[in-house]
């Protein structure tokens, strides 16, 4: 299941499992419907629960980037695992979106840092 969290000006999509071509249509429809309803200033694609992604995920990111650009929204990619980061780098999608990782330290205090490219 793809979970959505709406806050003022911000929509977070908590993706999970293996992101491939098979699952992309459902995910795209879920995300696009919420984006069209809310027009969030920031769309966060959170990959913390994603265990695999191939270039189908790049299609998702590039498509959402275009969608947000139409009205001036910003795309952020959070918590990609190393394999996913590798696919992001290869595709250049890491230049379309801000990529952040939040250390899971369990203190409730999350620390953000930009991933070194």
């Amino acid at each position: 299941m793809t979970e959505l969290k709406a806050e003022p000006g911000r929509l977070t999509v908590l993706l999970e499992g293996e992101l491939d071509h098979h699952r992309m249509r459902d995910i795209r429809e879920t995300v696009d419907q919420a984006v069209h309803e809310q027009l969030p200033g920031v769309l966060v694609l959170d990959f913390r629960r994603v265990t695999f992604m191939d270039s189908s995920g790049i299609g998702l990111i590039m498509g959402r980037w275009h969608l947000l650009e139409e009205y001036g929204g910003v795309l952020e990619i959070h918590n990609p695992a190393p394999q996913i980061r590798k696919v992001l780098r290869l595709s250049g999608a890491d230049r379309l979106a801000v990529i952040r990782s939040y250390a899971a330290c369990g203190t409730g205090k999350e620390q953000a840092h930009e991933i070194a490219q």
Partner: protein, 149 residues
Amino acid sequence: MRSLNELRCSFPARSENEQFARTAVCAFAAQLDPTVEELADLRTAVSEAVTNAVVHGYRSVPDGVISVTVRLLPDSVIYVRIADKGCGIADIGQAMQPLWSGAPGEERAGLGFTVMQSFTDSLQVSSRPGTGTTVTMRKRIHHADGSTG
């Protein structure tokens, strides 16, 4: 080249089978004791090849059959062949260019061959329009424990 072990399977070109295919290849390749990163690279490359067969080879018509052969070769080399009998590729050079997609309306990134090339040691593509496409990839496993080859 002498094959030390081999897996062959074929399945209908349904998108549900993309996950099955990459999982099956990686489960077999695990005999060579690859690192997490090597296995992730292989999983991603196989996923791209199978997705290409589903989306482009058979144009999302699930009647076609995709055949996968995995061989463990000497020196800890994994050989994977993914073949379809779909529509084939008229211009392989164009299809292999980064960001070029044969299905531009479907939000495909056009990076399938780029990923296969980057995440394996060698990639061969042979194709003929109307006959089908065969993708062959080889990947050397560097962290094998030596017991299999």
